[in-house]
Amino acid sequence: MAKETKSKWNGFSLKPRKEMPEGLWMRCPACEHMLYRSAVEENLNVCPECNHHFRIEAATRIKYLADEGSFQEVLGDLTAEDKLGFKFRDTTYKQRLKAEEKKSGAKEAMRIGKAFIKGRGVVLGVMEPNFLMGSMGAVVGEKFCVAVDKAIEETLPLVVVCCSGGARMHEGVVSLGQMAKTSATLAKFDEAGGLYISVLTDPTTGGVTASFAMLGDCLIAEPGALIGFAGPRTIAETIKVELPEGFQTAEFLLERGFLDMIVHRKDLRSEIARLIDYCGR
């Protein structure tokens, strides 16, 4: 089936990802339209022409999702330790972390805290795509588990916006262990009867998909988000086959039965609030 499909579409990240150009104007990577930057920002960072959902940083996500000023961050100061003493090329993991912190302004690839969504109290976790591709290391795992603990303690629903390239290889097996750790904590949450809404945004791949992202009681995805286990490039290189169009998009996963719903960014708040009303206590 896959061999027959011959289209110009060649997967998500086979081409180098186009960075958003600075300035007043920007080009949508999906429909190539020139867009006025502030118009896009007003439209919740969604392309007004083609509905392409741009990647947004954690702070913006929190602004869009939580009631104004309601986000109370927990463990905001937690920073990664270099347990392995990881060195690559002529840099070290520590230097890389500092550079990422400078670049993205975030301390780690996840922020957690208590917040209100349309007046419903939740424990909110948001991943930061600009910090080392939102990869999961010990800190992300720990923060996630603390968020779950908080949700159990205060019987609040847990909402996590996933956006990650997977496990962080600079932390070796420690980051792999975070998959087991977060999943085990979610098992506790499940037994405590908590509601866990997992929001999958572009991109959610690797170890994050294969642990807490896919374990939500309810799985919501943003339109067109890349969601999968192995990255498209890895698959294309391993099996030497052209990938079918729309492979690993949210729509593809919905069709295969792995998602509950695909929700536009502007409806995310109301949709989550509705779900909490149905299931929350």
Partner: protein, 366 residues
């Protein structure tokens, strides 16, 4: 009879052929050639070169000891991937009595990369869940070179649930380069299958022992690797990403894999030091592929002993300690937290400050 799993009993000393020497074993290979030559000569001429042969063998043992006591990470990876390294069928043959394979995930198919079934190890009835790479080309293709598909993980889980129902402990043997990255695997939810396994294995109400016998490749290995006790063979490796993959991403050059292997700290010794594995099972001199029986015996000894210990523990305590153990992986403490580092008055002040914010509720805006 074992159906598809019948294999030849391995020789006690696994015969190492010409192509089976790793590139750092040149001297060992040379000594083997000399010994072989002397043996050939002695059979032709009728003269016993026993003293000579024994001297060479002694020299070889010293050389093997020297080489294998300071393997680099990349060399360990090579040993773990050695074509003659004992695979799941060897363990099933030599360690498990009366193996009854259970097939199928009741949903899509029967993945040959993960083999499940009941058997006896020592005197214990257990459920074996193991990853199989296949011995020859035909088997390798049948089991997808040890890369499981989602149906394999779902099969493993359904059999583990079966075992849980009857209180049968689970033993998993990990040996995979990683979960299969393919179109079908993604369509059938590779990530979801692994995620569910992680969650369910963490609360399986029977003792779970995991032994990494060769390659522990990322999520593919972890998918059956959440356990009360995780052990590794001495020259096995366990990693978050293959060294080649890591090199391709961070070094932008796949041929830098040796450097990546070093940096990833994927050997049993390193992982033991990092407290990520509970035990390291020693391998015979010159690696598992040189003596299959001893390797399997060592693994069996470990499993029997650990199982005995785990069975003594109450299941609730066992589950609690399994959870604690998982929670402690990569435990990070807040180092820059102001409340902790401030002394005396400042600390009290900040604590007082922190209290009212805790109880204050923020009015909701709808």
């Amino acid at each position: 009879m074992r159906g598809s799993l019948i294999i030849k009993m391995p020789d006690n000393n696994n015969k190492i052929g010409n192509g089976d020497y790793l590139d750092f074993e040149e001297k060992v290979a040379e000594l083997d050639r000399q010994i072989e030559e002397l043996r050939r000569l002695s059979s032709i001429k009728g003269i016993g070169y026993f003293a000579e042969i024994r001297r060479l063998q002694r020299e070889q043992v010293t050389e093997l000891k020297r080489v294998y006591s300071n393997l680099t990470a990349w060399q360990t990876v090579q040993v773990a991937r050695h074509p003659k390294r004992p695979l799941l069928p060897d363990y099933l043959d030599l360690m498990v009595k009366d193996f009854r394979e259970l097939h199928g995930d009741r949903c899509f198919g029967d993945d040959r990369a993960i083999i499940t079934g009941f058997g006896q190890i020592g005197r214990e009835k257990v459920l074996i869940v193991g990853q199989n790479k296949g011995k020859n080309t035909k088997e390798k293709i049948a089991c997808n070179f040890g890369c499981p598909n989602p149906e394999g993980y779902r099969k493993a889980l359904s059999k583990m649930k079966f075992a849980e129902k009857y209180g049968i402990p689970v033993v998993t043997l990990v040996d995979t380069p990683g979960a299969h990255p393919g179109i079908g695997a993604e369509q059938r939810g590779q990530a979801q299958a692994i995620a569910v396994n992680l969650m369910e294995m963490s609360r399986l109400r029977v003792p779970v022992i995991c032994v990494c016998i060769g390659e522990g490749g990322s999520g593919g290995a972890l998918g059956i690797g959440v356990a009360d006790k995780l052990a590794m063979l001495e020259f096995a490796y366990y990693s978050v990403i293959s060294p080649e993959g890591c090199a391709a991403i961070l070094w932008r050059d796949g041929s830098q894999a040796p450097d990546a292997a070093e940096a990833l700290k994927l050997t049993s010794g390193d992982l033991y030091k990092l407290e990520l594995v509970d035990a390291v099972i020693s391998e015979p001199l010159g690696g598992a592929h040189r003596n299959v029986r001893d390797t399997v015996y060592n693994v069996e000894k470990y499993i029997v002993k650990t199982l005995r210990d785990l069975k003594r523990t109450k299941i609730d305590n066992l589950l609690e300690s399994r959870y604690r153990k998982l929670r402690l992986i990569g435990k990070c403490s807040v180092t820059s937290d102001s409340a902790k580092s401030k002394p005396g008055k400042a600390k009290i002040k900040s604590t007082i400050k922190a209290v009212p914010t805790k109880s204050r509720r923020i009015p909701a805006k709808v």
